[in-house]
Each structure stands twice: as C-alpha cells, then as structure tokens.
C-alpha cells in the first residue's frame, strides 16, 4: 500500500551547549540609564557556569531543527486514546496573544482587568451549562490538578457534615492520576473490578460508611458509556458518599448528556482535550472543576463573581479548601477554550461530539474483523483493541513503532491496564474519512506484516531519524543533564 511515511533530509543538531562560543550574543538591551549598583559581595555569584553563548541565528536554527524531529496534530493523525488530540484552531492562538490579554498583570486592580474577569466569568458559566453543574472553578492548571482540587472539595464537604471517611473506590479502568490524587487527600484506595462497564452491584459490594467517594470516568477508558451511572450514584449517595467524575472523556458527551444530570457531584474538565487548546508537548493545560450546589462553598478561592455592572474576584469564601496555585488559573489557556466555545456554539459542540463518536465507530467497523476487540458494547469516542490475535510474536509496542513508519503518531498503548496489550484509538472529530481510511489501511497492512514479515514490526521504526531507544539503560544510569 501507499504509505504516508517517507524519509527525507533531516538535519542533525547538537545540544545547545555544544554550540556555545564565548562572546556570541543573542540579545539586546537598552543602555543602562541609571547608575550601576552592586550586591553585597557575600551575596553575589560569578557568571552562571555552563550557560551557553549564542547568536540569535544560532538559537533560531537550533530550535527550528529540533521542531522537525517532532510530530504534532498539525503533522497528521494523532489518535492517542483518552488524550483527545483534536485540531487546535489558529485564531485561538491569535486571541490569546492579544496584548490586552497576554499583557495583564495578575495583581492589576480588578476594575482595570474587567475584560479578563468577564471572559473568566462567562467561561465558568458556559462550562457549568455544558456539564450540568452549579458552579465551576477555573483555577486548576491541568486534569490531575483538577482531580486533586475536586477530591479536596469532597473531603472538605464530608468533614463539614461531620462525617470523616477514609476510603475512595476506584475502578480498574481508571487513569493512574485518580488513585494518586485520592492519596494526596489522605484517602486509602479501594479498587473495584469492572467488566467493560462498572455495575451498580459491584459498587454496592464495596460501598460502606467508610467510603468518601467513588471516582469514575464516563465514558470510561474502554470508550464505553457507564450505562448504570445513575444507579451507581444512587448506591454511593445512599451510604453518604459522593461521586467524582474524571472528565477526560467529555468529548463524547457535549450536548448529548451532562454529568451533573447523572448524579455526579464533582467533575474536572480538560480544556486541553475537549476544548481544543494545544497540548504544548506536555502542557500547559487547564483543569477547571464543576460541582453541585452543596459542594460550591468548598471550591478554591478566588471565584469570579458578577455584580451589578462589574466582575470581581471573591475571596470571602470561609469554607473554601484554599488555593491550589498562585493567581487564578492558566488564563492563556482559558482564553483559547473560550474562543473555541464561541466559535462552535451549541450546535457546533454537539456536532463535534457526534462526529468524534462516528469516527471512532468507523475505525472500529473497519478493523474489528482483523484486530481483537475485547469489549463489544457500542463505542463512544474511542475504541480499544488488543494485540491478542497478532502473529509473528509481535506485540502492541511493535505495532506502535510500525505505525510511525506509516506516518502516524501511535495510539495510546498498554492502557487501560485491564486489557492486555491494549491499543486505544481516539481519532477525534477533526479527522476526515480519507485520513481514517488511510490509517485503517495501515493497521490492516501491519496485521498482515505481522504474519508475513514480523521483522518489519520488530525492527520498526525504520524511517525515523533515530531508532528504538535503550530505555533500560536510561533508567539504570540516569543522565538528566549535560555535563560537558
């Protein structure tokens, strides 16, 4: 088959420190217009040893070359499951860079930051409407930060009820951040097994008066809607617990169903997934948290509130858990997410979800005759296959690396943990059918190669600038900085 992947001229590039040449300069400063000053000698250091010296051209070439070794959503399909790598609209980048937004100091007086506060207020309101929650904080900087915030809020609420509890139930399909966040709130984790979806009976079997909360992801990481969600929430609530929802997969639900209407008490959003803000090679994201009325008093300070004709930051929230970072949230990311919501409108968001689900089901339909599909319920926005039926002693990692040769970023692999050799594919709505067809053709070709020429998989990737890395050596003898 015709492959998207090819080889071309890719330039080698040293470390920035290896380019350094004493006396080169990559900056300019105005002449000093005040008398020089010096620190007391005992406080002062010599120059920063090891810092590079380069011209502006050196720096630009260096990072431009590095960028060509990367693959981004703008390069092609990036079907990482549960990561929602949708297209990042360019106008949002322009909006976030407007000097009147990018240049506002966080301690500017509130009446001189009304544009920023207005944007934040309207985003809080829009996220509340989209999710069905009463109140939203924008402060958390990422999804896991939102989880921590949400679980702190749960604990604060229970303690205010005079009901100190010590356990949190987490299904085996959950993201690793869920148990890690629960532990940060002083909770002990009780795992619960699911069979594709979580049953209310399985939750009832472990639910008791010691359980503070259940943390659930809906749709879950198998891409399946938790269809017993209302019954599950009833079981937890009946014993005095609360329900946390990991909102990583909200892209499957926009305008279709709202977690707040399902009985869920708290949910975080990942603006860098569902709301099209870029991942930046690992961040920055934003992880707002929505809660019910009962939990609203416990949200971090400050919240943005609207008065008659002005917006202000409300610090007067005596039950608040406090703050989880300095200032008010990753504002630049909030700007991009608000631009996305304003560009999409209510029909657009619903259409995005519909096409995301259609794309995932289309991939499933094209691959399920060849690739092992461990769970057969209707898929939502993502689909999980496994390497079970792959021949030639080939495994999921080999498939991932071979997909690179075909020109794709690999899907999420070996997650969720409940599927052995999982291959978790989330195409998102921004991919057209031709791209999906080419990707499916590549997946089918790889399955054939595994039977006929497994070395192609074992050796992959063959077309990249570098081949597979020795990760064991990296961990055994860590070299975490350049030593010259």
């Amino acid at each position: 088959m015709k492959s998207l992947g090819t080889t071309g001229l890719i330039l080698n590039e040293k470390l920035i420190f290896e380019h350094s040449d004493p006396g080169r300069k990559g900056y300019s400063l105005p002449a000093l217009d005040v008398p020089e000053a010096a620190l007391p000698a005992e406080l002062a250091r010599e120059e920063v040893s090891g810092f590079p010296e380069l011209s502006e051209v050196d720096v630009v070439r260096h990072f431009t070359r590095l960028s060509t070794w990367n693959y981004g959503v703008d390069s092609g399909l990036y079907p990482l499951g549960s990561c929602t790598m949708k297209y990042n609209p360019k106008v949002n980048e322009v909006a976030a860079r407007l000097p009147g937004l990018a240049g506002v100091h966080p301690y500017a007086p509130e009446h001189l930051a009304q544009g920023a506060l207005s944007l934040m207020y309207h985003l809080q309101e829009a996220l509340a409407e989209i999710s069905g929650f009463a109140c939203v904080t924008l402060q958390p900087a990422a999804g896991a930060h939102g989880e921590l915030t949400g679980m702190l809020v749960i604990r604060a609420c229970l303690e205010a009820r005079g009901d100190s509890r010590r356990k949190v139930i987490i299904p085996d399909t959950a993201h690793g951040t869920n148990p890690a966040s629960a532990v940060l709130c002083g909770y002990e984790v009780v795992p619960v097994a699911s069979d594709g979806i979580l049953s209310a009976a399985a939750v009832a079997a472990v639910m008791d008066e010691e359980v503070a909360a259940l943390m659930i992801t809906n749709p879950n990481t198998l891409g399946l809607f938790e269809s017993e969600i209302t019954e599950i929430c009833d079981v937890v609530h009946a014993k005095g617990g609360l329900v946390y929802c990991d909102g990583a997969n909200l892209n499957a639900l926009l305008g279709i169903a709202r977690p707040g209407d399902m009985g869920i008490d708290v949910m975080h959003f990942n603006l860098h997934k569902t709301f099209a803000t870029p991942h930046g090679g690992g961040g920055p994201g934003a992880g707002p948290v929505g809660v019910t009325d009962e939990l609203a008093p416990f949200l971090p300070v400050p919240l943005v509130v609207k008065e008659v004709d002005a917006f202000r930051l409300d610090y007067d929230r005596p039950h608040s858990v406090g703050r989880v970072k300095a200032f008010y949230g990753n504002f630049g990311i909030l700007v991009r997410a608000w631009a996305y919501i304003r560009s999409m409108g209510p029909q657009g968001l619903r259409h995005a979800t519909a096409m995301a689900v259609l794309n995932a089901n289309y991939i499933r339909a094209r691959l399920e005759g060849t690739w092992h599909l461990p769970h057969r319920r209707r898929s939502m926005h993502e689909v999980v296959f496994s390497d079970r039926d792959l021949g030639g002693d080939c495994h999921t990692l080999d498939v991932a690396k071979r997909l690179i040769d075909y020109g794709y970023h690999p899907p999420t692999i070996y997650f969720p943990l409940v599927v052995k050799g999982a291959i978790m594919i989330e195409p998102t709505e921004t991919e057209c059918v031709e791209v999906l067809d080419e990707f499916c053709d590549a997946m089918l070709a790889i399955a054939r190669e595994a039977q006929e020429n497994p070395d192609l998989l074992h050796q992959a990737p063959l077309k990249t600038r570098t081949r597979r890395f020795d990760e064991t050596a990296a961990a055994r003898n860590p070299r975490l900085k350049w030593e010259g």
Partner: protein, 449 residues
C-alpha cells in the same frame, strides 16, 4: 463548521460502514434518562472575524504595561520577551504535540526538555531538575511533600516572608496529610527571623521553606538558614519567585538548599493574568527517586546514536498509581520551552546584564523614594528588583492617586499582612526607564506634601 470535515455524503457512507442508520443511533449506550433533550444554552457561534472583534473588546478593558506605567511584581514580572521566543514556540510541531511518550517522533520536545533541565541545574546549583511543574506555588508545595517523604518527618516551617499565595498553596496541598505547618515571622530586615527559626527547628522538622528573594524582595541569608536546618536534619526548600535574580545571586544549591522550587515566568513567558507560568523544581542526586514530575534522560538508540527518553517513570502516577511521588501528569512543557529559548538567547552574559539592570534600576528607585517626605523603606535587608515602601498616608490612597495618573505603582500588602496599611511592594525591571521611575517618584511626591 470549519474544524469538522465531514460532508453529508461522508456521514451517510460512514454510517453504512458502521451498520447503523443514523448518528443518533451511535448513542444507544447512553440511557434515555440521562440524555439532554435540548440544545445547550450557549451563544450562537461567532465567525472568525466576529470572534477577533469580540476578543479585541475584552482586551481593551484591561490595563497593561502598554496602557499604564507598571511597577507591579509580587511573583509575576514584566520583563522583555525577545520576538524569537514566540516565533519558535509557534512551530506547531512543538505546540500541537502531546507528552513525548513515543521518543522516536518526539526528539525535538525531549532534547529541549533535557536542555531545560540542564539550564535549571546550572542556574540553581542543583544536581537534577524535572521537566516542570504547574507554577512556583504548586512547585513549592511539591517541594514540601518531597521533603516530608525524604525525611519521614511531619513538621514544616514556612517563613511568613514567603509569597502568601505559595504559603496558601502549600497549606491546601497539606490539608489532609496530617502535617504540622508553622509560620516563622520576619525581622526588621524583612528576613526570616533567625532566633525564632532556631527555636522552632527540632528533630521532627522535615523542612524550612523560604523565598529567595522573598515576597518583600529581600534576599534571605540562605546559608545561615540552611545551616540551622541541616543541624536538625531538616531540608531547606528555597522558593525562587524571581529567577532573574539568580543571574547575580549565589545559587541556592551553593548555599545548601536541598530542594529549589521556583517560578519561571520571568524567562520569556507573558504575564497573561497569572498563567500559564512555569514551575521549576530541582533537587539533589541522592533524592532523585523521590522527586515529583517527569524526567528526561539521555540514552542511545539501537544504532548507538544519542537521544532522549522519559525516564525513571516508576515514580509516576501512570505506573505507580497510589504509590506515586506526585499525581502530576500534564505539566507546563511549552512554558519550559519558552524558558529554554529565552535563556539560550540571553546566555551567560545576557542573564547577568538583565539582572544588573533590574538591580540598578530598583536601587535608583529605592534611593529616590526613600528621600521623599512621608515615605520610607521599612525593611533594611538587601533587595534585588522589588522592595517594600511605607507611606504615611496609607498604601491604598497612594496607589489610588498614582492610578489616576496612569501608574500602577505597586501592590498593597495589607490584604496578606494585617497591620501593614501603609506598606506596598514596588517592582522595577529593565522595562522601566529612568524617565518612568522619575515619573513614579514625582507622582508619589505630588500628593505627599
């Protein structure tokens, strides 16, 4: 919708392949009882041109250093950002990539993080830096948690001269972990009170946390604090809220810090109303395995070529789940890239020169303000680019008066430190010309007579 490519015909054919007769049928797994049977109540979509007008109107309602003379600092600084920084981070191979889980097609991100980790180690004088945390405050909180893990002790001493929002963040992170957080007051120099620190330090103390420079802009005697902490086997966590200062100041590592947590916004990252910023985090080699966050390490590929991978992941949540050293997953990767580009441009000489300009301009402003009747400098300790001013007439009236003349003159401290109604924090950077500083001084003088 221009971001969604499906035509009616595409949808029809795809549904046929899937084997359902409508898009609605794809949602059969969602029970009717939880379906939303109405449109979301959101405004109708804006076209690109309308959107830009709308955002332009929002932007016009905010004050910036372009509309006002600004002397605001307090953990977020108005430094010049070379054009190269934004041009390079706008390469979409960088900003539209995910976390570099697949190293063969993420070497750009990975090498840049490796360079970032190196720069942070050089700057802080530490052995190992992680790939970033959310911001200075959360990085500081992670530093406290790491010190607690490493020392297996449960008492933490926080200087009251540490940024109030960092202290608040630490308190939130520790809220349910049964730790004892105790605040240590500051002295007439604006430094952590050494006698009180000595009295509070004991064999149960996990960490002492101080700013460097601290929230008042004062440079702490880090060597003395470190010696006192180490005498009791406690860790010193140094929180650097203005890292440009490290272009001139002895590194926290050299002075004995065990953990350096800081805010990297000064390194080429826009003010952006408080975020996204850059939490940097560095520690000693012996504590490597209890560090939070991602680490990039050097290795070789199957043909012996140098390359970089995420490493020591067994500390992290996706492997260790409830036993992880932190719950952090997404960090501030692109902001770390901005800092790497900024520091590469400035280099050895430039960082020093920028730091010298900040110091010189702040000293000039200090001297002029101290000479004004009705104003004084309450803290005697040495400062870098910000300092506390005391106004006889009270901070709020003074700042209000300045604002009326288009000057954002500082940050009133009373909201965090009760009983300081006259005090405000003034920050001067390389962005403030002598003329601007003279303007501030004249405006202060104008009403103080």
């Amino acid at each position: 919708m221009r971001y969604i490519p499906h035509t009616e015909e595409d949808i029809r054919q795809m549904l046929e392949t899937v084997g359902v007769d409508s898009v609605e049928a794809l949602f059969e797994g969602v029970p009717a009882a939880v379906r939303l049977n109405r449109l979301l109540e959101l405004s109708a979509p804006a076209a690109e041109s309308e959107l830009l007008r709308e955002f332009g109107r929002l932007a016009a309602r905010n004050a910036t250093a372009a509309s006002h003379l600004s002397f605001l600092g307090g953990g977020a600084y108005n430094h010049f950002i070379p054009a190269v920084v934004d041009q390079l981070i706008s390469r979409s191979e960088f900003y539209t990539a995910y976390t570099p889980y697949q190293p063969e097609i993420s070497q750009g991100t990975l090498q840049a993080i490796f360079e970032y980790q190196t720069l942070i180690c050089q700057l802080t004088g530490m052995d190992a830096a992680n790939a970033s945390m959310y911001d200075g405050a959360s990085s500081c909180a992670e530093g406290v948690l790491m010190a607690v893990r490493a020392t297996r002790r449960r008492k933490v001493l926080l200087s009251r001269a540490l940024h109030p929002e960092y202290r608040a963040t630490v308190a939130t992170y520790c809220r349910y972990l049964e730790l004892e957080l105790i605040e240590v007051s500051f002295d007439a120099a604006g430094r952590t009170e050494p006698g009180e620190l000595e009295r509070l330090l004991d064999k149960n103390t996990a960490a002492v946390v101080t700013g460097y420079p601290n929230f008042f802009g004062v440079i702490e005697d880090l060597a003395a604090i470190s010696a006192a902490a180490h005498d009791c086997g406690a860790y010193l966590v140094a929180a650097v809220q203005e890292p440009i200062a490290l272009g001139l100041l002895k590194s926290p590592g050299e002075l004995g810090a065990d953990i350096v947590a800081g805010e990297g916004q000064s390194f080429g990252i826009p003010l952006s109303y408080g975020g996204p910023y850059l939490g940097f985090f560095a520690a000693r080699k012996k504590d490597l395995r209890s560090m939070p966050g991602r680490l990039v390490g050097e290795t070789v590929d199957s043909e012996g070529r140098r390359g970089f991978v995420l490493t020591l992941a067994t500390r992290e949540q996706h492997i260790r789940r409830e036993k992880a050293t932190s719950n952090i997953c997404s960090n501030e990767g692109l902001c770390a890239l901005m800092a790497t580009i900024y520091l590469s441009l400035l280099g050895k000489q430039g960082l020093r020169e920028v730091a010298q300009q900040n110091l010189a301009k702040a000293e000039y402003a200090k001297e002029k303000i101290a000479a004004l009747p009705g104003f004084s400098l309450p803290f005697a300790g040495p400062t870098f680019n910000e300092f506390v001013v005391e106004a006889q007439e009270g901070a709020d009236p003074v700042l209000g008066r300045l604002e009326a003349r288009g000057i954002l003159g500082g940050i009133a401290l009373d909201r965090w430190y009760g009983g300081m109604p006259g005090r405000f924090l003034v920050c001067v950077t390389e962005q403030n010309s002598r003329e601007e500083i003279d303007g501030l001084v004249a405006a202060l003088a104008g009403g103080a007579q």
